[in-house]
């Protein structure tokens, strides 16, 4: 691990500053935090930006550089800047209450830290709702060494979800009425349509099943009504990136949205994903990819024709879209494809999060269920069976189970399991799934423990749409490419170069992602941030985090200060990320080498989920003293 040692040396240098840094490459940067006007073409509102604009500037650093960044707060409230994805001393991480107190109005804070990595990142305020209000910018770090791919030109493509309401008002409205912004709810007409297509009984049973849980299958985006922007421009304002036919263009996608996931494509062009969250991956050619909130993906494209190409991003809930253009001259406008129809969540997405669910009567205790198909079992999570109407009775799992849509699910006998007759689930297709898995034994009826998504290669499944093991089987959220081609999955990501030696995790920490939708309280292990103790880690550990998503929403989990090594079953080649998206009804694992002393934030990156409690402080105990941040005062008044 010589690379790691080198990093440590740099971090050490940061504390001393001055004399040491003069030897290295050093740069000084200035940012002002300013009130700005957000103008999307459809609405204007006040907001917050950097150097007088939102998005703020692209900060260009070089790997190995020691940066000094002077941040002047021109707001009348405290602000902060978090350098998203950067590895740095914790007191430079920019989270008020964890890294430092924040930057009071009128004051200047000087950040000093070494740049120990390269790639695409971003920065944003970590105070209140300044980020959704516009306080974000991007970071591009040039590598010291030659990259394993080549390109002629590059653009940052920063996606955001500008909302006509400011963050404080949105939070208040969500607390007052959690579906305040959901304008995709199922209506009388949807019911009539369902009744016509599936029969009145089925339609009623389906409504009753959701109503029983007091949840909505349309609850994919709890904040709608936003205007998506690319580099601050709406579809009408049409951000344009120029190319010469045949040039290879690197597009650095950053999702700086408060709440919106995007499905991104460039009709007519294959995209080659070369980097995820700032770390190079083995190139994956795709037609479309989903970018979670706060993730970055770098893709290479090679437009050969002298024409305009649309960069088209649809929100995951299909409530809004934005088109930008790749063009050979200014003024060209690519056609924006039509927004696809929204999908509905299914019972598979509900996972186990059911109130009134009664496992007690199920005599699953001593049974050993061998599953030929680990995924099917995992994704079922018994969620689909634990419906209101589902009557497990004596717990005979081999019974025919009545599904919410009124049809029956046969062959759930978990032993040998014949899934071929299981046509009851709306989109589950077990047919032809010949998965040679080792048997999974279920100690209890609730969850399949230890089922790593990663360990299975689903590539060869004969499914209708290629299944993505990072979604619950039968999930309404499973993406598919608009052109029927390849849609990127976490399963496709392989680290180009592991940052760490591969080793067994020293311990596992389970984090159940929980929430109370009606009260708009989001939490981890059922406890919101205000009431929670910090997560304590020991320097030198390798911790395996187990995310169990018990909510119906997708959560992009972000650990500050240390890398999140996503378990896709590739062992030492598991991709290295800073955001791990956890779809509803799934369990996802990531591992972290605990190599950064101090205290850090760990949270869902959906702004209103983080703020309402899906947030933790992580304390890393032990480790070299000199690593744990500089003690120099960075604050000076005036400015």
């Amino acid at each position: 691990m010589p690379k790691r040692l080198l990093r440590r040396a740099f971090v050490l240098g940061a504390g001393l500053a001055g004399a040491l840094t003069s030897a290295a490459n050093a740069g000084e940067y200035n940012l002002t935090v300013d009130p700005v006007i957000v103008d999307t073409g459809t609405f204007k509102r006040t907001g917050i930006g950097y150097n007088g604009a939102t998005p703020g500037p692209v900060l260009r650093f070089t790997e190995g550089e020691d940066v000094t960044i002077n941040v002047v707060n021109n707001l009348d409230e405290t602000t902060s800047i978090h350098w998203h994805g950067l590895i740095l001393p914790f007191d430079q991480d920019g989270v008020p209450g964890i890294s430092y107190p924040g930057i009071p109005p009128g004051e200047t804070f000087t950040y000093r830290f070494p740049i120990v990595q390269n790639g695409t990142y971003w920065f944003h305020s970590h105070s209140g709702f300044q980020e959704p209000d516009g306080a974000y910018g991007s970071i591009v770090i040039e590598p010291k060494k030659r990259e394993p791919f080549q390109y002629d030109k590059e653009y940052v493509v920063q996606l955001t979800d500008a909302h006509p309401h400011r963050g404080n008002r949105i939070m208040r409205n969500l607390k007052m009425m959690p579906d305040y912004y959901n304008r995709q709810q199922r209506t009388l007409f949807d019911f009539l349509k369902d009744a016509r297509e599936k029969g009145v009984d089925t339609a009623l049973a389906d409504r009753a099943a959701w109503g029983d849980m007091r949840m909505m299958p349309t609850d994919i985006e709890d904040l709608q009504g936003f205007t998506p922007l690319i580099n601050g421009k709406s579809t009408e304002q049409n951000w344009t990136g120029l190319f010469k036919p045949g040039e290879r263009v690197r597009l650095r996608f950053i999702n700086s949205s408060a709440m919106a996931y995007f499905d991104v494509r460039i009709p007519g062009l294959k995209m080659t994903v070369v980097q995820a969250d700032g770390n190079n991956v083995l190139p994956v050619p795709v037609d479309e990819f989903r970018i979670a909130v706060a993730e970055t993906y770098d893709v290479l494209v090679q437009p050969k024709e002298d024409q305009a190409y649309a960069i088209f991003a649809e929100s995951m809930g299909r409530t809004a879209s934005v088109r930008a253009t790749l063009a050979t001259s200014e003024g060209m406008v690519a056609d924006a494809p039509e927004l696809r129809k929204p999908s509905l969540l299914t019972m598979a997405d509900m996972g186990m999060a059911h109130e009134g669910m009664d496992h007690g009567s199920m005599s699953m205790g001593g049974m050993s269920h061998t599953m030929p198909d680990g995924r099917a079992m995992q994704g079922m999570n018994h969620g689909a069976m634990n419906q209101g109407q589902t009557n497990h009775g004596t717990g005979q799992m081999s019974d025919t189970h009545k599904m919410p849509d009124g049809s029956s699910m046969k062959g759930m006998s978990h032993a040998g399991t014949d899934h071929s007759g299981g046509g009851g689930m709306p989109t589950m297709k077990h047919d032809g799934t010949a998965m040679a898995q080792e048997g999974h034994t279920m100690p209890d009826g609730s969850i399949m423990k230890g089922t790593s998504h990663g360990g299975m290669n689903h590539g060869a499944q004969g499914m209708m749409a290629e299944a993505d093991s990072f979604y619950a089987p039968g999930s309404g959220l499973t993406p598919s490419a608009a052109n029927g081609g390849k849609f990127l999955s976490y399963d496709d990501l392989r680290a180009q170069k592991p940052l760490y030696e591969y080793r067994e995790a020293t311990r596992e920490v389970e984090l159940r992602l929980t929430g109370n939708m009606e009260r708009y309280i989001w939490s981890i292990n059922g406890i919101k941030f205000a009431d929670a103790d910090p997560i304590r880690l020991k320097y030198g550990e390798r911790v395996r985090f187990k995310f169990v998503n018990e909510t119906m929403m997708t959560h992009p989990m972000h650990l500050h200060g240390m890398w999140s090594i996503l378990d896709t079953g590739k062992g030492k080649w598991n991709p290295i990320k800073h955001v791990v998206s956890v779809a509803p009804g799934t369990t996802v694992f990531m591992e972290t080498e605990v190599d950064a002393p101090g205290q850090w934030a760990f949270h869902c990156h959906l702004s209103y989920h983080a703020d309402s409690g899906m947030f933790r402080k992580v304390v890393v105990e032990g480790g070299p003293k000199d690593k744990s941040a500089a003690t120099t005062t960075n604050m000076k008044t005036g400015g």
């Binding site: 939070m171 208040r172 409205n173 607390k175 007052m176 009425m177 305040y180 304008r183 995709q184 709810q185 199922r186 209506t187 009388l188 007409f189 009753a208 109503g211 029983d212 007091r214 109130e355 109370n516 009606e518 009260r519 309280i521 919101k528 205000a530 703020d611 309402s612």
Partner: protein
Amino acid sequence: MKIRIASLAVFAAILSDSPASAEQWFWGVQAEQLEWRSGEGSPAYAWDLDAFAGTDEYKFVVRSEAEYGTNANAFETLENQLRLQVPVSTFFDAVAGVRYDSPDGGPRRTYGVLGLKGLAKQWFEVDADLYLSEYPSARFEIEYEGLITNQIIFTPSIELDLPLADDEATGRAAFGPKLEIGGRLSYDLLDRAIAPYVGVHWERTLGESGRLVRDEGEDDDVVSFVVGFRVMF
């Protein structure tokens, strides 16, 4: 109106005295009914509104319900409540508070309030209150928002007010309930802030209470057409 202002002042005092904590404060105002009623009875303005402020753990609510008759230029009913809501389950809050009634020409009454408020299965919004005094009563309200489209909403509601003791001065007899059934069709005009609606409101006074109402020369069975705004901000 004086009473409303007084209760707001109490409410403000509680707010300002609350110690600083990590809990965030939220507030909001919701008027489910703010309407003009016209029909078999005397025409009236009526409202049913809640203003709240609080955290995830505690919510202080000022609730006001009134009917102001335009013939008599007087409040036929005027109820103001100061309520504290505390979560007791995923979907329900327990309620404790005080209620003060001060209709024009009627007796003033003060009650202690104990109740439950929340969202029942199948999306029924439920309010169940017990009003405690020497003239105790119970009230049960259910409301449902039926989406015709995502903007056009039909809201049926039922309210049952059950006196548990005789209170002739207010025209109520023990176990003679008053039943109010409404149906309102609204359109979300501006966000969810303002939604104009039209609807029907039916009030029926039953049992011995019905007789008391008739003795007063009033109708125990009144159907009104209503037009108004639902307000939320």
